[in-house]
C-alpha cells in the first residue's frame, strides 16, 4: 500500500516538474502525448459498455471548431472557449446519441465512423461562417502559445479524462457499463436503463474528446476541415488503448506514452505513411495480445503471487 503511494507521488512530481528540465521540443511532444492520452482514455470509457466508437476524430474536430468560433465571433478568451467547446459537443453528442445509440455492434461503429466525415463535410460547406475549406484562424493563442502553460493545459485535460474514467470505475457506472457489455438483457432486467446510461457516457466521452480538440485549436491558432477532422485522431488513440490495454484507465495512458514518443521518431524516418505502424499495432494486438501490455503484466504478477 505504501509502495503504491510513493509510486503515484513520483509520477505526479514528474508530471508537474518536467517543464523544469525539458526544452520546447520535448514539451511540445509531451503536450501532444498528453492530449492523445486523454483521447485514448475517453475512447476506452465508452468501450467498457461494449460500444465501439470510431467517432473520436469527429468530436475532436467539432471541439476545435466550436472553440475557434467562440474566440472569433464572441471574443471569448482561450480557456472559456475550450470549456464551451467541450460542453456544446457533449450536448450535440447526446442529441445524436438518442438516434444512433439504438444501434449496436457494427451498425453503431460504422455510423460513428461516418459522423466525422459528416461533420467535416458540413463545416467545409459552411461558407464564411465556418471558414469553408480554408478554415479559421484564432488571432490570440491561449497563454500566447507558451509551451509551459500549454503543457499544463494538456495535463489538465488528461486529468479531467483520468478523473472521469476513475469515477466511472468506482461508481455505479462501473456496474452498469460492465453489465451492459456482458449481456444487455440481464442489464435491463436488473433495472439498468441502458439507453439513458449510454447516452450519458457517449456525451461525456465526446465532451472530453472535444476538450482535447478545443485545446489543440487554441494552442495552434487555426482550424481546417482536413486537419481538425483528421482520421489520425481516431486511429492513434485506438492503437494506444489497445496496446496499453482496454477496459481500464491506465492502459490507454501507458499506450499513449509508448506510441506517442515512438511516433516522433517514426515521423523523422518515414515521411509518408508512418501511420502504418499504428495499423500494424492494432492488428497485432487484437490477434496476439488482446489484453494489452498492462493486461499481460497483471497476469504475470498474479501468477507470480500465486
Amino acid at each position: 500500500m505504501k509502495k503504491k503511494y510513493i509510486f503515484w507521488v513520483i509520477i505526479a512530481l514528474a508530471a508537474v516538474t518536467i517543464p523544469l528540465f525539458s526544452g520546447p521540443y520535448q514539451m511540445s511532444v509531451l503536450r501532444t502525448v498528453l492530449t492523445y492520452a486523454a483521447l485514448a482514455v475517453s475512447w476506452d470509457m465508452l468501450i467498457r459498455s461494449g460500444q465501439l466508437s470510431f467517432g473520436i476524430a469527429g468530436f475532436f474536430g467539432l471541439g476545435t471548431y466550436i472553440s475557434a468560433m467562440c474566440s472569433i465571433y464572441l471574443n471569448m478568451p482561450g480557456i472559456p472557449a475550450i470549456i464551451i467547446g467541450g460542453i456544446i459537443t457533449c450536448l450535440i453528442a447526446m442529441a445524436l446519441g438518442t438516434i444512433i445509440l439504438r444501434l449496436r455492434g457494427m451498425y453503431f461503429a460504422i455510423t460513428t465512423l461516418a459522423l466525422g466525415e459528416i461533420f467535416r463535410i458540413i463545416i467545409r460547406n459552411g461558407g464564411e461562417f465556418t471558414g469553408g475549406p480554408e478554415g479559421l484562424i484564432i488571432k490570440k493563442l491561449v497563454f500566447d502559445g507558451g509551451t509551459i502553460p500549454t503543457y499544463y493545459l494538456a495535463l489538465g485535460i488528461l486529468l479531467v479524462a483520468v478523473g472521469a474514467s476513475i469515477y466511472f470505475q468506482k461508481s455505479r457506472f462501473h456496474l452498469a457499463l460492465t453489465t451492459i457489455r456482458n449481456n444487455e438483457r440481464v442489464a435491463m432486467t436488473s433495472g439498468i436503463n441502458i439507453y439513458k446510461t449510454l447516452i450519458i457516457v457517449f456525451g461525456i466521452t465526446a465532451g472530453i474528446q472535444a476538450l482535447a480538440g478545443a485545446s489543440f485549436a487554441q494552442m495552434y491558432g487555426f482550424v481546417t476541415p482536413e486537419s481538425s477532422f483528421s482520421g489520425d485522431y481516431t486511429l492513434l488513440p485506438l492503437a494506444m488503448s489497445l496496446l496499453g490495454g482496454m477496459y481500464g484507465t491506465w492502459g490507454p495512458v501507458v499506450g499513449a506514452f509508448l506510441l506517442g514518443i515512438l511516433s516522433e521518431y517514426l515521423k523523422l524516418y518515414i515521411p509518408y505513411g508512418h501511420l502504418i505502424i499504428y495499423g500494424i499495432i492494432i492488428v497485432f494486438v487484437i490477434l496476439v495480445m488482446p489484453q494489452g501490455i498492462l493486461g499481460l503484466l497483471k497476469k504475470k504478477f498474479r501468477k507470480e503471487a500465486v
Binding site: I47, G50, L52, F54, I99, I100, R102, L103, R104, G105, M106, Y107, A109, I110, T111, L113, A114, E117, I118, I121, I122, R124, N125, G231, L235, L238, A239, L242, I270, Y272, G273, H274, L275, I276, Y278, G279, I280, I281, I282, V283, I286, L287, P290
Partner: protein, 308 residues
C-alpha cells in the same frame, strides 16, 4: 406476407413517381444517378458476400479496391499498356492477397467478439491505406484514356457513355454471384456455411476453407473493380474509406443476405446523390446523402421493432 407485398407495391409506386418527375424535370439526374448506382452496387456486392457468409464486416473493403487500382496503375504505367490488359492479373494477385489476409488475420478472429473483428479490419484498412501512402505518396494519380470521355447527346442533354460500364459490371457481378451461389456445388456449400457453420462442418464442409475462398473471391472481384475504378477516377491512398462506408450503408439498407436488393438501394443512393449534386454549388454535399440514408434505415427498422 401481406404487409411485405404492400411495402413492395409502395416502393415500386414511389420509384415510378420519382422517375417520371425526374424525367420531366432533370433527366440528367436519372442518367448520372444510374451510373453512380452501378459503381456503388458493384463495390457493395463483394462486401455483402463476405458479410453474408463469413459474417464479418470488412472495414478494409474500399481500401482493398483502391489497392488493386494502384496495382493496375503501376503495372499499366510500367508496361505502357491499357489497364484492362492488366485487369485479370490484378484480380489474380488480389485473390492471393485476400487468401493471405484471411489466413493470417481474419481466420484467427472468426470466433472472437464482434468488437475485436471490427477493430481488426479497421486496423487492416489503416495498414493498406498507409502502406499505399508509404509507397506511392499521397499525390493523386489518374490515367488519361481517350475512350472514357465518349459522350452522347440526345436533344439538349449530353452525358458520358462510358460510365454505364459500371452498371453492366454490377449486373454481371450480381448474375455471376447468384449463379455461383445457387448452381455450383462450391457456392451451395458456401451458402450452407453462411447459414449454419456448425451444421456445414458436420456434413463435411471445410468451413475455414470456404471462408478463405469467399474472402479471396471477394478480393478478386475488388481487383477487377479496381481496374474499372482506375479508368475513370483519380487515386489517392485514402480514397477507399468512403466506399467502405457507402457499401456498408447499401448492405444494411438491403438487409444482410439480400444481394439483388443491393441494386435497388444503390439506385436510391445514386439518384439521390446526383439529384443533390445537380443544384449549383451543392456538389460537395452529395457525400452526406448516404449518412442521411443510413439514419433513415436505422430509424425505419427500429420503428418496425426489428433489432438490427
Amino acid at each position: 406476407m401481406d404487409s411485405r407485398k404492400k411495402a413492395l407495391l409502395a416502393i415500386i409506386a414511389a420509384v415510378a413517381v420519382v422517375t417520371v418527375i425526374l424525367l420531366l424535370w432533370k433527366p440528367t439526374v436519372l442518367i448520372f444517378g444510374v451510373q453512380r448506382a452501378g459503381l456503388y452496387a458493384a463495390v457493395a456486392l463483394p462486401m455483402a458476400l463476405i458479410l453474408g457468409i463469413v459474417h464479418i464486416v470488412n472495414l478494409a473493403h474500399g481500401e482493398m479496391m483502391i489497392l488493386s487500382a494502384y496495382i493496375t496503375y503501376a503495372v499499366a504505367r510500367a508496361l505502357g499498356v491499357d489497364p484492362f490488359l492488366v485487369m485479370i492479373p490484378t484480380a489474380a494477385v488480389m485473390f492471393i492477397v485476400g487468401a493471405i489476409l484471411y489466413r493470417v488475420t481474419i481466420k484467427h478472429a472468426i470466433e472472437a467478439p464482434e468488437l475485436n473483428q471490427l477493430i481488426l479490419t479497421f486496423g487492416l484498412a489503416m495498414v493498406i491505406s498507409q502502406g499505399i501512402n508509404m509507397v506511392a505518396t499521397s499525390q493523386p494519380r489518374k490515367l488519361s484514356l481517350d475512350y472514357v470521355t465518349a459522350s452522347l447527346t440526345i436533344g439538349d442533354i449530353s452525358f458520358g457513355v462510358y460510365d454505364f460500364i459500371f452498371v453492366a459490371l454490377a449486373l454481371v457481378m450480381l448474375l455471376g454471384l447468384t449463379f455461383f451461389l445457387k448452381k455450383t456445388t462450391m457456392g451451395k456449400a458456401a451458402l450452407a456455411v453462411g447459414v449454419n457453420p456448425r451444421g456445414a462442418a458436420i456434413v463435411g464442409i471445410n468451413v475455414h476453407k470456404t471462408y478463405m475462398l469467399v474472402f479471396a473471391a471477394s478480393a478478386a472481384m475488388l481487383g477487377i473493380l479496381g481496374t474499372f475504378f482506375l479508368t475513370k477516377m483519380s487515386l489517392f491512398p485514402t480514397a477507399g474509406g468512403a466506399f467502405t462506408m457507402k457499401s456498408f450503408c447499401l448492405v444494411a439498407m438491403a438487409g444482410i443476405g439480400n444481394l439483388p436488393t443491393i441494386l435497388l438501394a444503390a439506385l436510391a443512393l445514386g439518384v439521390a446523390e446526383a439529384f443533390i449534386g445537380s443544384f449549383a454549388g451543392m456538389g460537395s454535399w452529395t457525400h452526406i446523402v448516404f449518412f442521411a440514408m443510413i439514419i433513415a434505415v436505422i430509424l425505419g427498422r427500429s420503428f418496425r421493432g426489428k433489432s438490427l
